[in-house]
């Protein structure tokens, strides 16, 4: 009978030494945020609200880590001057 093999090696917990940075969640995305830099005021609300912490401020402007952005759209919803917009993934 196909019973679970029980031995001394059954683990107590699952400990991983791999970084979550390896988990490229950007592939989950169907929509992507896009920045229209001319309207950006550098208010940092997108940086503050991003639930995955994948927005970095460089020279006062947001730079989005597209390897990890899941395309949730929270930055777009929170952007007061509407300089962030959502576009179809792959759109030009």
């Amino acid at each position: 009978m196909p019973r679970l093999k029980i031995d001394e090696n059954l683990p107590v917990v699952h400990v991983s030494d791999r970084s979550t940075l390896e988990n490229l969640t950007g592939s989950w995305r169907t929509m992507a945020p896009r920045l229209r830099p001319e309207k950006c005021t550098g208010c940092m609300l997108c940086w503050k609200y991003c639930p995955d912490a994948c927005i970095e401020m460089i020279d006062g402007r947001p730079v989005i880590d597209m390897d990890h952005c899941k395309g949730c759209g929270i930055c777009v919803a929170e952007c007061p001057p509407k300089c962030l917009i959502m576009v179809e993934e792959g759109a030009r």
Binding site: L4, L10, V12, V13, V15, S16, D17, R18, S19, T20
Partner: protein
Amino acid sequence: MRKVLMGNHAATLGAVLARAQVVAAYPITPATQVVELIAEMEAKGEFSGRFMRIESEHSAMAALLGAASAGARCFTATSSQGLAYMHELLHWVSGARLPIVMVDVNRALAAPWNLWTDQTDSLSQRDTGWIQLYCATNQEVLDTVLQAYKIAERVQLPAMVVLDGFTLSHVYEPVDVPTQEQADAFLPPWDAPRRLDPAAPAGFGAMEGPKGYMRLRKRLALDMERAEDETERAGAEFGREFGRDYGVIETYRTADADTVLLTSGAVGSTAKQAVDELREAGRKAGVVRVRLFRPFPAKTLRRVLRQGQKVAVVDRNYSQGQQGIFCEELKAAMYGLPERPEIYGYVAGLGGGDITVELLKEIWLETDSGKASALEPAWMEDPR
């Protein structure tokens, strides 16, 4: 030193003597004083751990999940709605194999609002992977908190110490409080086998597939099973240190008993008096008080209860659509044995109604006379 303590403060002193390092809590009647006294002792410099005020029970357990992952000995206390609100985190803590000890003061769940004792709050958490110990006296509350750390740390699982709301939590009883030196001799410091360490970054509890998940669950099941023997062991070690022995169950005058009252918590004390009075009237009565509910002490109960004996289970709890919870668990533990006792269920005192000596005697007499139903629980109300 002998002191007169309410059950809640007996719980506090247990945690302080166990040298809990992090306490995170949110107040709720009737458990509030457990953590209130810790906060007060911290303010006076009598408690060297860290007390965290937190915005909810869910967050309190989340904070302890973090602190215990860093290797700290952790404590909290709650009740009823607060425990229900913690539910998600209870699974996280047991799955992470963290030996957090929590006191739950039994209180009925709403609706409607009710503050009084009822075990359905803690028993609703029976599948969360927490060890559960039910106490009958304030002395046992203090002693059990100390033992709970020992059991929990040996099997790497969290433990819940449960006491009756008001009947124990707010009632003052003489309690022998050990010295710190005695407590230290019984309970060594917790040396966590794994801990969060910035020098050696690691992820705990990351995604695991079906194969790995099944193995982790089986390992948890084996360690939970082991907790039955570990509870006996810790109780015996405690007895050697302090002269008060504890086991997974307490039996009282059961050796030649025809009919046994099986119950838990403070009702276990009342049942002893009922049995004394029945014995004086020439009846062969006994009590089994179940102290360990998770893991369910099936091994011990199968040894103690025997063919030909009648067992009246008195449950101050109820599983809707099923029956009293200790009763259903006892039936499940006995099913399949070639020889087993007859089991009858009684539901009494939900929402804090008194379970009196008289009521327990009536339950015993009905069961002993063979008039009880083996199929459906009888709902009891004491009109006195």
